[in-house]
Symmetry: C2
Subunit: 151 residues, 2 copies
């Protein structure tokens, strides 16, 4: 009987395909200014709160600790952040933006807007708003609904 599924008709299928394509686009856009896709999200958080510990970044960026460690390694290598022991607790280290890390924000934001526009090409204003709303709902499905994380 084996009721065969039309995989292509599922949201998951499309999501997987869009996901891959978007990640490539993100990587390409950020590559033009010498960055990698994942590093951006660390910078986002540091621009809001400079000097976070790795564990704080883990909580905010929502990826696993070893992943953040690697992202920070990359950012250190290109001299956008530093990692220093803090006094008081010798387990922790704080990650600080360098001058350059602060300065690059404008350039990165410009690139971000290009990314945004390139992925929304072909959608009407209304569709964009609806998509934003639905993605938000999808996200809260995963993060455990009903949270408003400012700050």
């Amino acid at each position: 009987m084996a009721e065969l599924i039309k995989f292509e008709d599922t949201v998951s299928y499309l999501l997987a395909k869009v996901t891959t394509a978007f990640r490539n686009s993100l990587e390409r856009h950020m590559g033009t200014i010498g960055l990698h896709g994942g590093q951006i999200f660390v910078l986002f958080e540091l621009w809001k709160h400079d000097g976070l510990r790795l564990i704080d970044l883990v909580a905010r960026v929502n990826v696993a600790a070893p992943t953040v460690t690697k992202m920070v390694d990359g950012l250190i290598e290109i001299r956008l952040v530093t990692r220093t022991r803090i006094d008081g607790d010798n387990r922790s280290k704080r990650i600080f933006l360098t001058e350059r890390g602060r300065e690059m924000r404008e350039e990165i934001e410009a690139q971000w807007l290009e990314l945004e526009e390139s992925c929304l090409t072909g959608l009407t204003e209304t569709e964009r708003l609806v998509l934003f709303d639905l993605l938000g709902k999808l996200r809260s499905t995963y993060t455990g609904a009903g949270e408003n994380e400012d700050d």
Copy 2:
């Protein structure tokens, strides 16, 4: 004057977050039946057309050749497919489903439906349809709009 962006208000930001969360969910769901997230898409294509060459899979799965090679390596290791030289052209090899590769379809489909349901929890029927539609549009933005690939 450095007009600061609210990154969180962009579709790209949400897309990036959903991307990561969904990929984790996919990996977790498929992990329960001994598979990895990417391997599924190779199987999808082989169920439609058994015996494709690597280059055919590359075109259909829409990821780079070395990536497909690795996915196939994994599938060979767990004995869901085989890779054999074809006569006529000694450059190519064809990838064939094994008995087990064919049999696992039902189990995988069941898991796929669970994935689908878990990601759509919290969306109304209408929202699901709209999301499907919008993801389709996003996808064609990347693949070069206006294609209908059946078969």
